[in-house]
Amino acid sequence: MRKPWPIPAGYILTIACILFLTTAALSDIAIGRRLAGELSTFSSKMVLLVPCIFILIGLLDAWIPQTWIERHIGEGSGLRGALYVTLLAMFQGGPLYGAFPTAHLLQKKGCSKRNVFLYLGAFSSLKIPMTLFEVSFLGWRFALIRAAIALPVFILIAEIMAVFATDPESRLDT
């Protein structure tokens, strides 16, 4: 396991950013105001989404027994396991970075690597809420054809990842 930096890069960058914004505000630099605008748009969304995601992950962690995951979507769970993770992904929403915590949790609890990466693939493109958007702006034909072509590609990617991905790292667990 790698030794963590004394201060994570994220914090250093945050301080640098605050300093920059303060300087920009004091000396009236236009780009500072634009950056502040983008920051507030994006962070107003994250402030709501991120805590929700982690509350749900924590609850999943506490409620879903490891044995269930191992039996149904673990190694050797076959087609049914793949179907389960695809369905799980389809009924979720939000950006992909919100799915990493769930994927990691599944992996930690014994979900097979193949199914973890199939989950991420399905999450990225087969979510039902997003498909509704896709249908309304690009049409049924486009959405269905893209989904039908994407699924086998995701399965292939998951197979390759299952061979080459490193084992789950435990540095996120306390």
Partner: protein
């Protein structure tokens, strides 16, 4: 945004149901969720600042306009690079993709753009790496990039 409201209500309902059934277990879940959040906070801050800085320097409208001017083989490739870097949420991305399609951007390029936007994340790499390690995250993004190009080409052929 109504989509955010759904996530918030689902969270609240799940939390209430969980607490009603087993308060101790709920507390344990909240604690583990909180620990994970604290661990990842620097990465989320990094993501927040990188994305905002990127959008400040290169506004999304400029990117999309750029894509609209490309043609031939360059268009899907430009769409792939653009989709990998940009972080446009679905409710905005699909109307944009629809507009691009109508203004003459090829089906292949549009499919590539939509797929890479969702699958490949250069800016979210710092977060992904924390969960799966740099090597795995890198591999997943590379494979997804190639996969998106294949998906786009096939969609273009079939449509």
């Amino acid at each position: 945004m109504p989509k955010d409201m759904i996530l918030i209500s689902v969270t609240l309902v799940a939390l209430a149901a969980s607490a009603a059934i087993d308060r101790k277990r709920t507390m344990r879940g909240l604690k583990s969720g909180y620990r994970m959040l604290v661990r990842l906070l620097p990465q989320f801050l990094l993501l927040l600042i990188l994305v905002s800085a990127f959008l400040t320097v290169v506004p999304q409208e400029v990117l999309v306009e750029f894509l609209g001017r490309q043609s031939g083989v360059v268009a899907p490739l430009a769409a792939a690079v653009l989709g990998s870097i940009a972080l446009i949420p679905g409710p905005i991305a699909y109307p944009l993709a629809g507009a691009l399609h109508q203004s003459g951007v090829s089906t292949t390029a549009v499919a590539v753009l939509v797929t890479t936007l969702m699958m490949v994340g250069v800016l979210t790499f710092p977060v992904e790496k924390e969960y799966f390690g740099a090597r795995t995250a890198c591999l997943r993004n590379l494979l997804s990039f190639v996969g998106a190009l294949i998906i786009g080409l096939l969609v273009g052929v079939v449509m």
